[in-house]
């Protein structure tokens, strides 16, 4: 009954809408996904550097070496690209203008992190791989601060 009256009133003087919405698709973001991919790329960089070259006359050992090296390189390329994709999603989808006001370095941080992903993908550089991990840690700190949560940084490796 009361709802009918209010509905009738709403025809004359419409109430403002208040949203109890989900603006989806899921709203689930976590820099951990970029961190895991970057860690894999760092690990592959180390493994490539540590790989011992066999005697060129030992064709079986050489085949095994080339096979392993190729696999390490392929995984490094793939994981570095994945880290970059995850960072770009976080940057463009999660972060909003008010975050930028609070963290004026946000764009530079992401830009440099994305460039480090490219370096790690293209090169075999332990220095750039480690710089990438530092950049992702910085993003982790900013990300969780925007959610008023204190989540410790950790690595799987």
């Amino acid at each position: 009954m009361l709802k009918k009256v209010v509905n009738a009133l709403d025809q004359v003087s419409p109430a403002q809408a208040v949203e109890a919405h989900c603006d989806g698709p899921c709203g689930i973001y976590d820099p951990a996904s970029a961190r895991i991919a970057a860690e894999a790329a760092v690990s592959m960089t180390k493994k490539i550097i540590a790989l011992e070259v066999p005697d060129a006359s030992d064709s079986t050992a050489m085949a095994a070496y080339l096979n392993t090296l190729t696999r390490f390189v392929a995984i490094k390329e793939e994981q570095a690209q994945l880290a970059k994709d995850e960072l770009l999603v976080l940057w463009t989808d999660y972060f909003k203008p008010p975050h930028l006001e609070k963290y004026p370095n946000l764009h530079t941080t992401f830009w440099e992190a994305a460039k480090l992903c490219s370096s790690v993908k293209v090169e075999v550089s332990l220095q750039h791989a480690e710089e990438l991990m530092t950049a992702i840690q910085e993003i982790h700190t900013i990300f969780w601060a925007t959610k008023d949560r204190n989540i410790d940084w950790y690595t799987a490796g």
């Binding site: 709802k3 709403d10 109430a15 809408a17 208040v18 989900c22 959610k147």
Partner: protein
């Protein structure tokens, strides 16, 4: 009790089961003039960076604002996504529901 109330119409499912789309709520716009909201209060607030107005429940009261969540967490965009809501953005406390 006799203070002015503002009427709003609910859209979306994030406050189910207590509020469904099409329900009306009455809001006390001066409820927090002299004291901050308490956890558990259902409030109407300006979205931190969109032009919309949201209706959510206060889960935590922080120094400069509140953390708000939807009762129906599976269908809610709330402080988990948009962060804290500044005290100044709170438009009032829901005092009644017409459903």
């Amino acid at each position: 009790m006799l203070r002015r109330r503002v009427r709003y119409r609910v859209e979306g499912n994030s406050m189910k089961p207590i509020l469904s789309p099409g329900d009306f709520v009455l809001v006390d716009p001066v409820a927090f003039t002299h004291s901050p909201p308490l956890p558990g209060a259902v409030v109407v607030a300006k979205h931190p960076y969109l032009s919309s107005i949201v209706i959510k429940r206060v889960s935590q009261v922080l120094e400069d604002g509140v953390f708000v969540v939807g009762d129906n967490s599976e269908a809610s965009s709330d402080s988990h996504q948009f962060g804290r809501v500044n005290f100044k953005a709170i438009l009032g406390r829901v005092t009644s529901r017409i459903s």
